[in-house]
Amino acid sequence: MESDSELVRRAQRGDHQAFAGLVGRHSASVFRLALSIMGREFVPEAEDVTQEVFLKVHDSIRSFRGDAEFSTWLYRIAFNQAVNVKSRARYQSPHVATADLDREAARELGTHQQVEESLRDLALAECIRTLPEVYQSALRLYYWMGAGVAEVADLLGVPEGTAKSYLYRARQLLSAMLMQRGYCDE
């Protein structure tokens, strides 16, 4: 199998097959990264981000000099693109007010414990949204998508130790926030 750098070199010479090879190899990871930043309410937007990232890469692949791994460069573009899209006003809150849906679901669930759990999950989701983007992304990759620390580190372009500390720090912050809201034991 051809390495990324060989495919990149061919794509830089205008070989469309080579570019398609890079898309096939990395599109799932870029989508996962985009989704981890956007959140699960924004699947179509994460798809759009993935497409936009590859269009940008196609336009600027000649400027890639190979100082870093292609994947590092690609994931950096994906991260920035997803954060930009998310920061636009209409993405700051979900299309469907999940808070309302969750409250409604909690009411329908019936038992006191289920209602409590649902409200706590809702509080947790709200707290996660207030964390720095990189922490949110690390949490979603690790807990939602089942990525290992190595994959989290790879997608975020940081060493494994840093990815671990992102997760640890995010948990600490969430724990403190939930405690303030009365959801965690002191």
Binding site: G24, S27, F31, R40, L55
Partner: protein, 107 residues
């Protein structure tokens, strides 16, 4: 991740339970749609490139001809001055294409 304090373990468990949901995948035709979009974009760009180059070429021919007429040159000299470089460029492109064809056939 193995040595967690109780508070860390509690929030870890909470996150695992709370975030347990199916993970969506990219649609199967994503690659196909992306390549289609790239093709459409490059066709649009190519069209614009041709229009711009054509416009530039026509304008420069008229401006050059007017300037040379102003200098008192006759139409024969003006035509030769304008068309000689074009013939040279066309010739070079032709030679390059033939060389590429020979290389492709030689493979």
């Amino acid at each position: 991740m193995s040595e967690m304090d109780p508070r860390d373990a509690e929030i870890d468990g909470l996150l695992r339970r709370s975030m347990a949901a199916p993970v969506p995948n990219l649609p199967g035709d994503f690659e196909h749609r992306l390549i289609g979009e790239l093709r459409r974009r490059s066709e649009r760009l190519e069209r614009w490139r041709r229009v711009l180059l054509g416009g530039y070429g026509v304008t420069s021919v008229f401006v050059s001809a007017a300037a040379m007429l102003g200098q008192g040159l006759d139409w024969g000299t003006i035509s030769a001055t304008i068309f000689a470089p074009l013939v040279l460029v066309a010739g070079a492109v032709l030679v390059k294409r033939r060389a590429e064809t020979r290389v492709m056939r030689g493979r």
